[in-house]
Symmetry: C2
Subunit: 151 residues, 2 copies
């Protein structure tokens, strides 16, 4: 890569833009997802919520907040709306009346499944040209980045 000495306009070193590259990638990944979902009338936030619930529902708002990396007030409102639209069901916990337990409805689960089909199709495009080996490497690196960030 030899980026250390590559220059761009203004005499800045290319390395100075590495953060920009990563930010750009993150934004691209986001836009890619958003575009996939727009036709289905759903946004990235809701999609992450659906995925979290598909992995395991009956969890509290707080729990979803952490798993979907959202802020609690935002999540609270989104869940209320998603309940109005019958994608999820909110129920006060028996044990602790402060907690709201959230469940995927059948409608919500089948939305997630059908979105998954669409999303995976485009995901394939993202990995176009990657050999099996490349994919393994990519996944390993992405996970590692994720872990470093979570730490």
């Amino acid at each position: 890569m030899r980026s250390k000495s590559r220059r761009v306009a203004g005499g800045m070193l290319f390395d100075d833009f590495l953060p920009h590259l990563i930010a750009t990638l993150a934004h691209r990944l986001h836009l890619d997802l958003v575009e996939k979902l727009r036709h289905e009338g759903i946004n990235a936030t809701r999609w992450r919520i659906l995925a979290v619930l598909a992995i395991g529902d009956g969890i509290s708002v707080n729990e979803i907040t952490e798993r979907a990396m959202l802020q609690q007030p935002a999540l609270s409102r989104v869940l209320i709306n998603m309940e109005k639209e019958r994608y999820v069901l909110r129920r006060a916990s028996r044990g602790d009346a402060r907690c709201v337990e959230v469940f995927l409805t059948h409608k919500g689960r089948s939305l997630f499944n059908s979105l998954n089909v669409v999303v995976r199709r485009r995901q394939d495009r993202l990995l176009k040209g990657f050999s099996r080996q490349d994919k393994r490497t990519a996944l390993r690196i992405l996970r590692r980045l994720g872990r470093n960030m979570a730490a």
Copy 2:
């Protein structure tokens, strides 16, 4: 990785959540950046704009729209605000009065430079534990993903 046959709650295949993993990574990258910048009172959108202009300014709003991957109305307003705060300078193009040419002011450029220091410091944490070789690989993969998406 053998993800093909790994199962999670609800009998779904692990692969079904790959898109979720990628979306999660993108969101994490975004949050990481946002956190880095919050203390400086700036958001991810403005940071990408500063980076684009630092690479080369005197370009039109349209041009920035593409390079920073924003929607034009959003960019228009942000630039107006950034001009009020003296980070950029907007000037009607001499050749084509429809176009607005945008320049970084000295204030804007030094903001970008100081942000870059902060951002790169945390970037290092992101790559903690990566050997020189690993970094090269990571960069290669990130670029490749970016290219595939842009295509």
